[in-house]
């Protein structure tokens, strides 16, 4: 395929996914907004007013970046995992792409772009909801955008691998419940890692969400528990490993071809 043909194939995959997520917006976007609004109300307005300030900012301002990031990664992950699983398990219309000359890296890029778009759109909508509860400051817009892209790419790639490997719908539901949710809660969404005692601080360091939340939060309040350069290096390394894994799966057909 020529680069132009690859672009057409990529944009077809993305377009199809966008049409799908807009068609079922009450399932794709609405739940995140309701969940985020409840978090802002309970942890931000009700409980947050008693906590006072963290890292020199009101508690609700401190948790907004983490909650936005939480919805972004969850949506990026589940979008790709479900679309891949559905198209290989229920309709088997993943074959439409597998029989075509579309190279594996274009297929991966198309699915991941769908997840990134959903994750970023959700993040934007959740930020708008947050503005209803508290004013926000932006310390560095570029850092905000960079960490949002990194977060959604990493978790979309993870969702792709999950969707390819899952052999039942349980295989898709288990990961968000038993892996993603603990990672989010232990990744410093609601607290500063500096406040964690001993071993818990070290455990947090192996959680990718920790790096994402800290970098993202830096973009808003200008403070982070860890250096931005180190966070970006860790996240880029993780994205490269996940892309290589997804490429290997699709190139060899593991989980997709018999």
């Amino acid at each position: 395929m020529t680069p132009y043909e690859q672009w057409i194939s990529f944009s077809t995959i993305v377009r199809k996914d966008v049409v799908r997520m807009l068609r079922i917006w009450p399932q794709t976007f609405l739940p995140s907004l309701v969940t985020a609004a409840l978090y802002f109300l309970i942890f931000g307005a009700f409980i947050g007013s008693r906590i006072g300030s963290v890292e020199g900012v009101p508690y609700i301002v401190f948790i907004v970046p983490g909650l936005v990031m939480m919805q972004a990664v969850m949506n990026a992950y589940t979008n790709v995992a479900f679309v891949m699983f559905q198209s290989k398990f229920f309709n088997r219309n993943i074959d439409e792409i597998l029989v075509s000359p579309t190279p594996p890296w274009v297929l991966i890029s198309g699915f991941v772009a769908g997840g990134v778009l959903r994750g970023m759109t959700t993040a934007l909508l959740v930020l708008l909801v947050a503005l209803a509860f508290t004013p926000l400051t932006i310390a560095n817009g570029f850092v905000i955008a960079l960490f949002l892209v990194l977060a959604t790419v990493i978790f979309a790639l993870g969702g792709l691998a999950n969707g390819v490997f899952a052999s039942s719908i349980d295989g898709i539901n288990i990961v968000p419940t038993f892996v993603l949710t603990p990672l989010v809660y232990l990744g410093g969404v609601f607290y500063s890692a500096k406040t964690l005692p001993g071993i818990w601080g070290k455990i947090t360091m192996i959680d990718p969400i920790f790096y994402l939340v800290n970098g993202f939060r830096y973009g808003f309040i200008g403070k982070s528990d860890i250096s931005l350069g180190f966070s970006i290096s860790v996240l880029c390394g993780l994205a490269a490993v996940l892309f290589a894994t997804a490429f290997y799966l699709l190139r060899t057909g593991l989980g997709l071809r018999q």
Binding site: M1, T2, Y4, E5, Q6, I8, S9, S11, T12, I13, R15, K16, V19, R20, R23, S87, N91, R92, N93, D95, E96, I97, L98, V99, S100, P101, T102, P103, T252, G253, R257, Q258
Partner: protein, 257 residues
């Protein structure tokens, strides 16, 4: 003789140890209408899965229009269209989108794909269902939609895996006529079907596969010439000549009581 498909000693053993193909060789000339017949589980769908890239082969080689499938899989796939046995359309997608999107996966610009898709939907009798969701179409309509989808990139070689299963006779005959126009335009077709009268009507060549191996291969005349008149006298005439030959070649020998 130029070959549209050249399969040599193809083998496939699944992870559970099932040997689906045991050294299949098949040469399909360009422009031919080839029927691949066999009982359930004979290996027909596995064979089509391998040549369309949906099943990984265990051994052997294949060339599509002279292109080595192992060395240039993307170039080989470009030449192939497939209508699978099972309905595999996005049931919530609109008919026009399903066909146009398939063109997109082959790198066809949307404006061109839209024009071709409209022509194809008209050709398979679905012009009035252009904006209907696939789930709103009958089984026969969904099969015709899959034919339109398989032709959007103008393939040289078309694989039809039981395309008329569950389709009523009037619609089936309409599909036969359309497939004949495709071969008249130079498209090579490899068809698997359980309707042997369909193969007899359409195919120039026939291969019969049983338990993963080709047990007969030749022109329709050659295969029909194998028909044993004395068998008819022994068993009593039941089906067409092709049906009788098929049964002679594929049925299990009777076990001694």
């Amino acid at each position: 003789m130029e070959l549209a498909l050249d399969i040599r000693n193809l083998t496939k053993t699944y992870a559970d140890g099932t040997a689906a193909l045991r050294g299949v060789s098949l040469q399909v000339p360009k422009g031919d209408f080839y029927a691949l017949l066999g009982p359930n589980g004979a290996g027909k769908t596995t064979l089509i899965g391998i040549v369309t890239g949906l099943v990984n082969k265990t051994g052997g080689s294949l060339r599509i229009d002279g292109v080595d499938f192992d060395a240039y899989p993307e170039r080989a796939r470009r030449r192939v269209g497939v209508v699978p046995q099972n309905l595999n359309v996005d049931f919530f997608g609109r008919a026009i989108d399903i066909v146009v999107n398939q063109g997109g996966y082959y790198g066809i610009p949307r404006s061109i794909a839209l024009k071709r898709a409209d022509e194809l939907l008209k050709a398979v009798g679905l012009a009035d269902k252009r904006t209907a969701q696939a789930r709103q179409l009958s089984g026969g309509m969904q099969r015709r939609l899959m034919i339109a989808r398989a032709l959007i990139h103008e393939p040289d070689l078309l694989f039809l895996d039981e395309p008329t299963a569950g389709v009523d006779i009037e619609m089936r005959r309409g599909m036969w006529d359309y497939l004949k126009t495709l071969t008249a335009r130079g498209v090579t077709i490899l068809l698997t079907t359980h309707y042997l009268e369909e193969a007899e009507q359409l195919a120039k060549h026939v291969a019969i596969i049983n338990k993963g191996a080709i047990v007969a291969n030749g022109t329709m005349e050659d295969i029909l010439a194998r028909y044993d008149e004395s068998q008819r006298e022994r068993d009593g005439y039941r089906g067409s000549r092709l049906e009788e030959v098929f049964l002679q070649l594929t049925r299990e020998p009777e076990k001694p009581s």
